[in-house]
């Protein structure tokens, strides 16, 4: 199971082993990591599961779909490494991935 490190905006770290095939959003919700709201439940329809992916992991992730790019327009303070975590499905190669959470969602 790939280990994901979620870092809250205040610096608090959560290291969690998430089952392969789940999204980074689901890993956070199922383990009660605060800072990811996921209001729409993973339909890429609300931009409240916004994360900043650690630069060195960006290229290992699935490509951004047009709908994710569109939806990111609505996220709070986007940066170049902004992604919607409901679109990031975990594979074994993502073991050790680090995501930073924004100050707030939406």
């Amino acid at each position: 199971m790939p280990k994901v490190t979620y870092i809250e905006h205040n610096g608090k770290k959560h290291e969690i082993e998430v089952e392969t095939g789940l999204s980074i959003m689901e890993g956070a919700i199922q383990n009660g990591v605060p800072g990811i709201d996921a209001d729409c439940g993973g339909a890429c329809a609300c931009a409240t599961c916004h994360v900043y992916v650690d630069e060195e992991w960006l290229e290992k992730l699935q490509e951004q779909s047009d709908s994710e790019k569109d939806m990111l327009d609505f996220a709070f303070e986007t940066k170049k490494n902004s992604r919607l975590s409901c679109q990031l499905m975990l594979e074994d190669k993502h073991d050790g991935i680090i995501v930073n959470l924004p100050e707030k969602q939406g």
Binding site: A45, D70, D73
Partner: protein
């Protein structure tokens, strides 16, 4: 003051089906929603997305589900109060007085909160103290376009609202500056082309890969600071700002009604989906109980059960009798099929 057997807060699928469950019991309902249309999240967030888990509908979309539900409740001729948000719930003997932000009032024994994650509100720019400008020249919608006559208007966003108003207001404004965080626009291609032509004519300035960092001014916005992806900062002198950053969902006034809350949802019992207040019910995504699943089908079930209790409260002198739609002539009369 409108008197009704039930007020439903939220016109999403669960609120709509609650109209049906109340209707077949002979109860009237008024539905209030903050959006300008019926359908809730299904319409606002994912009208075209496929939904696979509605019983007996192998595939539908948010839009087709909403249309079918409206068809199903047609016999009850329900009144919808759209573009309104419920602000206050007050007790009056055994009834509740419901007041909206338009000062519309209802008196009812039953309030059914089917508000999903809350009401849709405009998403504000990520800028400190942005609230104070909302009274003056920061807008999230265009109510009267003549307000922008001969003005320099800064429009934020890349969707249909932003592009439509860029094109429309360019006809009367002095200048339009459209700012978007990336090069691609989500809006209809036709409108994007129109805007690009206006850019050539010098009527419209388009700045992409910029995001707002600050609004300067005492009471109204005088200057807008925007930052390019590469770090460059630009200062724009403006008369008005229009921000189209979409909508977000907020619990809003529901949190102030004295109802038991748990993780942004309302605690209910699973017998009749009543909250801690008699006559106030919560169904669909907004309710919470052990084992709760945020599924549309769960919301339908919750609506059916809560309707029984609503009947007892609305018609205390009548005996509730459980009936099937297949055989009850009363129900069939209400549905207009007999």
């Amino acid at each position: 003051m409108i008197k009704t057997d039930a007020v439903i807060v939220g016109a999403g699928p669960v609120g709509l089906f609650a109209v049906f469950e109340l209707g077949i019991l002979g109860l009237s309902a008024h539905v209030i929603d903050n959006l300008d249309k019926v359908g809730g999240q299904c319409i606002e967030l994912y009208p075209d997305k496929p939904i696979y888990d509605i019983p007996a509908l192998p595939l539908c979309t948010g839009e087709s589900l909403t249309k079918n539900l409206l068809k199903q409740i047609e016999p009850f001729k329900t009144t919808f109060h759209l573009n309104q948000r419920v602000e206050k719930l007050e007790k009056k003997n055994d009834n509740w007085i419901v007041t909206t932000n338009d000062q519309q009032q209802f008196e009812t024994p039953n309030v059914i909160i089917a508000a999903g994650v809350g009401s849709f509100e405009p998403r504000k720019p990520p800028i400190k103290n942005v609230d104070k400008f909302e009274e003056t020249n920061l807008h999230f919608a265009v109510k009267d376009k003549n307000k922008f006559k001969n003005q320099t208007v800064c429009i934020f966003g890349g969707g249909d609202s932003a592009l439509d108003w860029t094109v429309e207001l360019s006809k009367i404004a002095k200048k339009i500056i459209l700012v978007h965080r990336r090069d691609d626009f989500r809006a209809a291609q036709h409108t994007v082309d129109l805007a690009m032509n206006l850019k050539k004519d010098g009527k419209v300035k388009i700045l992409t890969c910029y995001q707002p960092t600050d609004f300067l001014g005492d009471h109204s916005i005088e200057k807008v600071l925007i930052k390019h992806d590469n770090g460059d900062i630009k200062e724009l002198v403006v008369d008005s700002v229009l921000a189209f950053f979409g909508l977000k969902m907020e619990l809003g006034p529901i949190a102030n009604w004295g109802l038991d809350l748990e993780a942004k949802s309302l605690k209910v019992n699973t017998k009749n989906f009543e909250t801690n207040e008699k006559g106030i019910f919560a169904i669909g995504d907004i309710c919470n109980y052990p084992g709760k699943l945020k599924l549309i089908l769960s919301g339908f079930h919750e609506g059916a059960l809560c309707a029984q209790e609503c009947f007892k409260r609305a018609k205390p002198d009548e005996k509730y009798v459980f009936r099937f739609t297949t055989s009850s002539s009363d129900i069939q009369k209400r549905l207009g099929v007999k």
